[in-house]
């Protein structure tokens, strides 16, 4: 979130076509950000049937993954998780999947391809900021419509783990919001390839492939050898997308490590958002919108 606040006086100033903002009014900035977020929430809340279908699908996959991981644990523990922790990991993971939205977002690439992105550049809000605000609104709706169903269904059929330390809950919320911001940043970067290639299909394909397995959706990354875990956590943003919030929630590690994981996540979010702004600035210099 730190990267986001810093943009307070940057609204409009980077977009080549927009008039420079004269008042660095933080309140106004937050009001604009909030309005765009609410619009994002409303936009996604119109697809109620699709949300229902998605929630049912997540729930079915919850049953499948949970059974496999519990079978791997037997009656003991596996990768440092006991049975209730694995159940919480799987069911919350199925809920989080739609909140961080790993897959299926090609809005920016589509708008670049069609030239609609020109309209985004005309607005007095930095494109990265306005897309982020929309995405947070989307995530807010997904938290209600997509996260709750599997999280409520799971405990009916499996013993789940509930946090035993109260700071865990706050840290989990911070971690989820950070994961949403970070995932948005990654998706923005992947989509931005369309500024150069007109089409982002290749990068989107590689992202879809890599993100699921490297974020810990298919199996907890703690099942991997230690050295590989280190490489993934420090060398890539993927574990910060899902594995970190889930590990925080099930208290896989002592409090100090929990805080450290979230700090690492925040670091990635700041870095990726900064990269988004840099890429956007570069892209605007070379973007040619076709048509009359």
């Amino acid at each position: 979130m730190a990267g986001l606040r810093k943009e307070g006086n940057g609204v409009g100033s980077v977009t080549a076509t927009a008039a420079p903002s004269t008042s660095a009014n933080v309140t106004r900035w937050f009001r604009t950000f909030g309005a765009i977020s609410r619009a994002g929430f409303r936009r996604y809340s119109t697809y109620r049937q699709a949300a229902l279908a998605g929630a049912v699908t997540n729930t079915v996959f919850g049953f499948l993954h949970c059974a496999v991981l519990l079978a791997a644990a037997g009656s003991g523990t596996v990768g440092g998780y006991d049975r209730p922790r694995l159940a919480t990991f799987v069911w919350m993971g199925q809920g989080l999947l739609a909140v961080v939205l790993l897959w299926g977002w090609t809005d920016l690439a589509d708008r670049i391809r069609t030239g609609d992105v020109a309209a985004d550049l005309l607005r007095p809000v930095h494109p990265v900021t306005s897309y982020l605000a929309t995405d947070l609104g989307r995530a807010g709706y997904a938290a209600l419509a997509r996260l709750l169903p599997p999280v409520l269904v799971g405990p009916l059929f499996f013993d789940v783990y509930l946090p035993s330390r109260w700071p865990t809950v706050g840290l989990f919320v911070v971690s989820v919001v950070t994961a949403v911001v970070l995932c948005f940043g990654c998706r923005f970067l992947v989509n931005a390839a369309a500024y150069w290639w007109q089409d982002a299909r290749g990068p989107v394909l590689l992202w879809t492939l890599g993100s699921g397995v490297l974020a810990g959706l298919y199996f907890p990354l703690r099942f991997l050898p230690d050295w590989l875990q280190l490489v993934l956590w420090f060398g890539t943003p993927f574990p910060s997308l899902m594995q970190t919030p889930l590990d925080v929630l099930v208290e896989r590690d002592p409090p100090a490590v929990q805080v450290g994981l979230v700090a690492l996540q925040l670091g990635w979010a700041v870095l990726v958002l900064a990269a988004c702004r840099l890429v956007q600035r570069r892209a605007e210099r070379r973007l040619v919108v076709q048509g009359g």
Binding site: F61, A67, A72, F219
Partner: protein, 276 residues
């Protein structure tokens, strides 16, 4: 690309389908780099499914009473059947889009079968790599599982994956028809198609209670990989079905085809265009 003027050509209906397929093949391979990337990307998805199984066996010796080598036979049967079915029929997943945009109206107007047209209109040739990888996994799994080969088992090793292709193909068609009633059904079909792939990747003993009953016997997934693998490995079914259950795969596949055909016909008859 209008298929409507094709039947006038010599070769009749078959020629029309061949022309449709040829046009697709040429169109998709025009951008060679993009096509190659798609080939690589598509094999990746199946590779990660296998990697997941390997990683899970890295932290446990057995899963539901089965060793890695035994489970890999199921992984091979499941991934080869699913990947080939996905290549041939998986494209039907786009039916909700066709219904929503009204393209399906155009398809119905042409003097060719609606289903073959839909399948050929956008046959995803890039998924060939996935099918080949799936078959590769099956061959490796079969040769390394220490199977006591008899003529009957050789026949089963050929018939079971083919029955699996038919089964998953029927499933793709049957679930896609939901969109005739519920246009916004979105990813609902995935819960049975991709969900079924995940279910058949592991021994049915991994699952439990009503969920296992519904997926294994209600929907028939047990006969795609679990039962044939038991018959190939010469193991008794811990869940109690007799040993001939492994041979039920083709029968179950035929039932699936009948159900899918009935669902498709009902769906077409029920279809009312979304257009204005």
């Amino acid at each position: 690309m209008t298929a409507a003027d094709r039947p006038a050509r010599p070769g009749g209906t078959f020629g029309a389908y061949r022309a449709l397929l040829g046009a697709q093949a040429r169109a998709q391979t025009t951008y060679r780099a993009s096509f190659l990337l798609d080939l690589v990307g598509n094999v990746g998805a199946t590779v990660f499914d296998v990697v997941t199984v390997l990683v899970i066996y890295g932290v446990t010796r057995e899963l539901g009473g089965f060793t890695l080598r035994e489970t890999l036979v199921m992984v091979g049967l499941s991934s080869s059947a699913f990947a080939v079915a996905d290549l041939l029929v998986g494209n039907i997943e786009r039916l909700p889009t066709h219904v929503r945009t009204g393209l399906f109206d155009a398809v119905l107007l042409r003097p060719l079968g609606a289903l073959p047209q839909l399948l050929l209109m956008n046959l995803p040739l890039r998924k060939v790599s996935r099918g080949l990888f799936g078959v590769g996994v099956l061959v490796v799994a079969l040769t390394s599982a220490g199977i006591d080969w008899t003529p009957a088992r050789v026949a089963l090793a050929v018939v079971a994956p083919l029955a699996g292709v038919v089964f998953f193909g029927s499933l793709f068609v049957a679930t896609a028809t939901v969109s005739f009633w519920w246009v916004d059904s979105g990813e609902l079909a995935n819960s049975v198609t991709y969900g079924g792939r995940d279910f058949t990747t592991y021994p049915a003993t991994v699952f439990d209670g009503w969920f296992r009953a519904a997926f294994a016997y209600g929907l028939g997934f047990a006969f795609v990989s679990y039962q044939p693998a038991l018959a190939l490995l010469g193991r008794a079914d811990p869940l109690g079905l007799p040993s001939w259950a492994g041979w039920a795969a083709p029968g179950v596949a035929l039932v699936a085809v009948a159900v899918a055909a009935a669902a498709w016909r009902t769906g077409i008859r029920h279809y009312r265009s979304t257009g204005s």
